[in-house]
Amino acid sequence: MRARVFVVDDHELFRSGVRSELGGDLEIVGDAGSVEEAVPAIVQTEPDVVLLDVHMAGGGGRAVIDAVRAERPDVRFLALSVSDAAEDVIGVIRAGARGYVTKSISAEELSSAVQRIHDGDAVFSPRLAGFVLDAFGGEAPQPLDPELDLLSRREREVLRYIARGYTYKEVAHELHISVKTVETHVSAVLRKLQLSNRYELTRWAADRRLV
């Protein structure tokens, strides 16, 4: 089944580009150029996946996620950004996006990323994997909730491979596990990233802002 996709970006050129590039593989059910426009349109069209620009006037991608999730909790979000700034990326993931890619991604990669989000997986770029390793790195002095505040050894290994530029399939091959298992690990990491209140996570983001 083709994924039904909604595009939110305040750059007209980008929206029309994505429409024409992804139109073949995916069904584009609508697009919007602002937060106010996007929220009612998404609620109404109920797409599978929303391609969401992180930076927009009126609260950006986070505002869209917050408003839509209240009414349509099944809609999934893939964040797109040109910024690559850690606090933006971590911020939009923690708001509820299931993946993050940079805007310079090729059409084929974007298409497969949307498909993966549609299938319920998480999409980690090498950079996002690096951010997560950084955020969960070091010893937590006193993990409040080890279940959420620490990465398992296996999750860490998977993230390292992703940061090194390996695809999920290649990671599976290297670790002698199935692609499905890799996806399970990545989803677990995503969940921890979203739910952990680990002190380092916030401090780390704040530190990056100061650098």
Binding site: D10, H11, L13, F14, G17, H55, V82, S83, D84, A85, T102, K103, S104, I105, S106, A107, P126, R127, A129, G130, L133, D134, G137, R160, A163, R164, G165, Y166, V211
Partner: protein
């Protein structure tokens, strides 16, 4: 009554103006002290916006700034010290000169930090005087203050024939004023300067944030679009280089830090290879470390591996991943290009042996190359944190 001081104080303290006025009058019997306080308060209190043109402007008492508090404190202390030293606590011919001098002192120093209100317009003295004073902040103040102090001395000398006492009081006054100037002058000046600096740096950072937001929305987006648009390789690479430089500037990674922190060194290495070979290098760094000679070796080896990948692999994307751990620093340079068999590399390809493996081994590290024809290449560099 005269300048709205009692009303202002009353408003500030929540008392009826008449009670305040009664207090002033009471104080005035004690050597005109109430008048002194009245005048000082009038001089120091900021002018409240007059809502009605019919009423005299009411001067509101706000909490004094630190400089004002210090000024008032010093004046009072000066007065008390002078009176106490000379033993003329209630001496009429001493009181007025001291009061004059103290007012002069207050005019000289008070409000000199608050540059917003420093434009001392003397609205109470009427417009002709105001027009003379306006535009020149400090000169009239200095002139008036000095005049008052001199007048105080003259009055004192005229009224007092005892030269010894004059000498004592003059000395005490000079010491008090000189000390106050020495104490308060530089501090007041510094405060003024800090205020100006803080304000201008805030303006700068606001301007920068605004510009960053603007550039982010326009230029960065455009550069990303150029890279997406299947542009010629040179153009896409140019856009990517510009994007990297702009991003480094926007998010505060200065190129001059490349020699200081590992993260910046790797970023700048990636940018260099991108420019030279027109490929895109995705560099991810986890953790950070201070650059030293051994780390420079690691960065150079990684640069060589990245350049090799750019030259020989046939792909346009190279991943560089560097991780700083407690005891080891690892670097991974990976491409998904043509790959090669490391065992059959021609002997004239010295790059791998010298620039990568040799470089790492000389610094106590190691280098492995995983490659197979068709599946790409990965160079793994590892360096123990301390030279064991």
């Amino acid at each position: 009554m005269v300048a709205g001081v009692a009303g202002g104080i009353g408003r500030h303290l929540g008392l009826h103006p008449n009670i305040v006025r009664a207090g002033f009058i009471g104080l005035s019997f004690a050597l005109g002290f109430g008048i002194v306080v009245y005048v000082l308060t009038w001089l120091l209190a900021p002018l409240e916006e007059a809502t009605s043109t019919l009423r005299a402007p009411v001067r509101s008492i706000r909490m004094p700034t630190r400089s004002q508090a210090l000024g008032i404190g010093l004046i009072v202390v000066g007065l008390v010290v002078v009176l106490w030293i000379t033993g003329f606590w209630f001496g009429g011919d001493l009181g007025w000169p001291v009061v004059l001098a103290a007012i002069g002192f207050a005019i000289l120093w008070a409000r000199s930090t608050d540059d917003g209100r420093g434009r001392w317009t003397l609205s109470g003295l009427g417009t002709p005087f105001e027009s003379v004073v306006k535009g020149q902040v400090s000169l009239p103040r200095i002139a008036i203050g000095s005049l008052l102090i001199l007048a105080g001395m003259a009055v004192f000398l005229a009224a007092n024939t005892s030269l010894a006492a004059a000498g004592n009081v003059l000395l005490a006054m000079i010491v008090a004023i000189g000390g106050a100037a020495l104490l308060a002058g530089p501090w007041v000046w510094n405060m003024g300067r800090e205020l100006v600096e803080e304000r201008s740096s805030r303006v700068r950072s606001e301007a920068r944030a605004e510009m960053a937001a603007h550039l982010h929305d326009s230029v960065l987006q455009t550069l990303a679009l150029i890279q997406r648009a299947k542009a010629p390789r040179e153009m896409a690479s140019l856009a990517r280089t510009q994007e990297r430089e702009l991003r480094a500037w926007l998010y505060g990674r200065a190129p001059e830090l490349a020699g200081v922190r590992l993260r910046d060194a790797i970023d700048s290495m990636a940018g260099r290879i991108e420019r030279q070979h027109q490929v895109s290098v995705e560099a991810v760094v986890v953790g950070d470390a201070e650059m030293d000679d051994r780390l420079r070796g690691l960065v150079n080896a990684a640069a060589e591996a990245t350049a090799n990948a750019a030259r020989h692999s046939g792909t346009t994307t190279i991943s560089v991943f560097v991780e700083v751990e407690e005891d080891t620093i690892s670097a991974f340079v990976r491409d998904q290009g043509s790959g090669f068999d490391p065992d059959v590399v021609a002997g004239d390809r010295r790059g791998i042996a010298d620039s990568i493996i040799g470089r790492m081994e000389r610094r106590g590290g190691s280098a492995y190359i995983h490659s197979r024809a068709g599946t790409g290449t990965e160079v793994v560099l590892q360096l123990p944190r301390s030279a064991a």
